[in-house]
Symmetry: C2
């Protein structure tokens, strides 16, 4: 079968399960999640065997070490995934919640949350996403179509088989969790074109995937994960807090989207703050690319214009000395991707201006941008971090997988 | 100047006013709306003079009569627009509302409503939309770019001049209401491509405009107005209610998107109900295109497959006899555009199935689909009726013009 036809057949099968999923009770959906957790634990040896195969293939194909680590599942990680399903069970089911008003003509208008329908996710070699994403969809009564990376395909086959078994065991259609068992670029592009079958596509990946989606997608998309994040050290900043937060925001996990890429420092603080910051790095390696004034203080590599727009995802930090809050806000609003931005300041008027004028999903005062995360925000799991303004902005939890429906009841009203 | 560059310069000027608009207080924004209402009344003669020019040009160009009627502004209609601004002033300002939680680590996370930024609207020859759309944007702290139809350009010039004066009179930037003073197809297409400048595009128009947006737009879009709506007369329907509601839903204003295009009738009711329905038409003309069983009863024109998918927007109704609720739901979910669907029934179990299983923005029991409207739902004005699931579904009021922002305040928290 042609790739396009294959993707269409999988999407059509998922769409056929929409009605049963939308009608499932919270109790049934939670029973599916509990059953998945149980199967993950009892079948962990099979999962690990498939994952070992994936790891061997990936290693033989020269996949870099950090990616191998993200690909790996061991008993402890599988238990962690099963535990997070337990947390998801505890969260309130948004489906069916809503408001009810009676109009002067007697019409009763209810506005309730309903599932989107079919949610497709394109992602890379992290098999935990396979379970996290499917579980969020199950909890919200959505069907899902999963297109994971080729490195994880053997693991993903076992994981989806177990999730489909859990659906069947609870009287729900197994096609509500559907795996695209074809990891070519064509299958990814085909999925972007399933207009009428896919209600939402969430691409989780790098700039290349996002560009491909913008160019090709005809289905509704929520863009996630582009994070050119900043920290601004204001004139009145507590330097100890500034050093601690900036170090955490850059160094704790540079490959993630909520890590900072540029640090802006007020000109009155730079001469004292910048050496203090580099001293605090200790034996850790960080490449600094600075403006001329930064380089005059630190003797670092000179930043080019393109550095201000780059998401390094690496141990590299662009640094710029600015004249104050106006320049800081203008710089950030020019170069940021609408993800997470932080100000370190003791001046509450400046904090307020930063909160109001910075255009981003999350704006921090005296705290690390690394907190932009569904778990840290208290949403349980997350499907990704939206950097767009429509529908969902910031960490996407259960609510982002729902839409509204007006139910109007009358006794013959006409207009 | 090239059309694209012109549209870009207008959009850039509108975007430059975002920060001032986002920071405007509810009091100031309401003062602008009150001033617009005042100017509409005091300058009504100038508006009518410009509108007369538009009407003369349109008439000379052979514009059909119903469109001339939609284009026309007289003193009474201008007063109506001014009155609706008064109602908008009374509505609660969503900007700044939200929730606040404190996390175990002491971080305070606020989630507040903020403006989208720049909202663009492409619409046809209805000058009231110029004021309604701009007023909704002003109330929600958004800048707007208006691309109205060529037939209304003289009227729109005067209306936007008055609205810009009202902004200036209250210390806000006049470019927050921007008119694209170029009504070529190129200006419309250019506006669809203002990625990074336009945060939301709302096309209000027919299938041709929607297709052009799907093909060309690179900015976020909310599709509005496609309405292939149905009514289903169930086995236990009260025939008097069925006739009254079906007549209203089809005949009261067939050109609007919430009018019905197809009526489905249970096979046990058809022989009695259908003649009763046609008799109730009296001297009104309605072309019926029926399935074979309908034609056997009414002697009407035979419907083709394409009729089930057609939004006539005219005095034409497709009619089909169905075997029951299953066939009715399957037919509607196959052909509808996700707008408004109604069941007439005395069977509460069937009503519940219809409410749950029909995939549409608004689902009615024993009432006319014509109520799907921001005013009728109690939202004050509306920017259009969304038929998509992301962000806004159904009538779009003030909330649809906002997005969320997380404001996180700490005292040095790191992760």
């Amino acid at each position: 079968m042609e790739t396009y036809d294959y993707v269409k057949s999988v999407s059509t099968a998922a769409a056929a399960s929409k009605s049963a999923m939308a009608g499932a009770s919270t109790k049934t959906k939670n029973a599916v999640l509990a059953r998945i957790a149980e199967l993950l634990r009892t079948e962990s040896e099979r999962i690990i065997a498939a994952n070992t195969l994936d790891l061997e293939n990936a290693d033989a194909n020269g996949v870099p070490k950090p990616m191998l680590d993200r690909l790996k599942l061991d008993k402890k990680r599988i238990d962690g995934i099963a535990d997070s399903l337990g947390e998801l069970i505890m969260l309130e089911d948004p489906i069916g919640s809503g408001t009810r008003t009676t109009r002067p003509n007697g019409l009763v208008i209810e506005h309730i949350r309903v599932p989107l329908g079919v949610v497709a996710i394109i992602y890379e070699a992290r098999p935990n996403v396979t379970v996290d994403a499917a579980a969020l969809c199950i909890k919200t009564g959505n069907a899902c179509v999963l297109r994971g990376g080729k490195e994880a395909i053997a693991t993903n086959r076992v994981l989806t088989e177990l999730m489909r078994r859990a659906l069947c065991d609870n009287g729900l259609p197994e096609n509500a969790v559907a795996l695209i068992d074809n990891t070519t670029r064509e299958s990814s592009t085909a999925l972007m074109k399933m207009r009428g079958l896919v209600d939402l596509l969430v691409p989780r990946g790098g700039a290349g995937l996002i560009r491909s989606v913008v160019d090709n997608a005809t289905v509704p998309v929520i863009e996630t994960g582009a994070g050119n994040c900043h920290i601004y050290i204001d004139k009145t900043a507590d330097h100890d807090i500034g050093v601690k937060v900036a170090l955490n925001a850059k160094m704790s996990r540079p490959s993630v989207c909520n890590a900072i890429e540029t640090m802006l420092v007020h000109e009155s603080e730079a001469a004292e703050f910048l050496p203090k910051f580099t001293a605090a790095l200790g034996d850790k390696t960080l490449e600094i690319r600075g403006c001329e004034r930064t380089c005059a203080i630190l003797g670092c590599k000179v930043a080019e214009e393109s550095d201000w727009a780059t998401e390094y995802d690496d141990y590299i930090l662009a640094v710029k000395v600015v004249s104050g809050i106006d320049e800081a806000i203008a710089h950030i609003n020019r170069y940021n991707t609408g993800h997470s931005e932080s100000i370190i300041t003791g001046n509450m008027a400046n904090a307020e201006r930063f909160r109001n004028e910075i255009d981003a999903a999350a704006v921090y005062v005296n705290a690390s941008t690394r907190f932009t995360d569904g778990g840290e925000f208290g949403f349980g799991a997350e499907l990704g971090i939206s950097t767009q303004k429509l529908h969902a902005r910031g960490p996407m939890g259960l609510d982002a997988l729902t839409t509204g429906k007006y139910l109007v009841t009358g006794n013959g009203q006409v207009r």
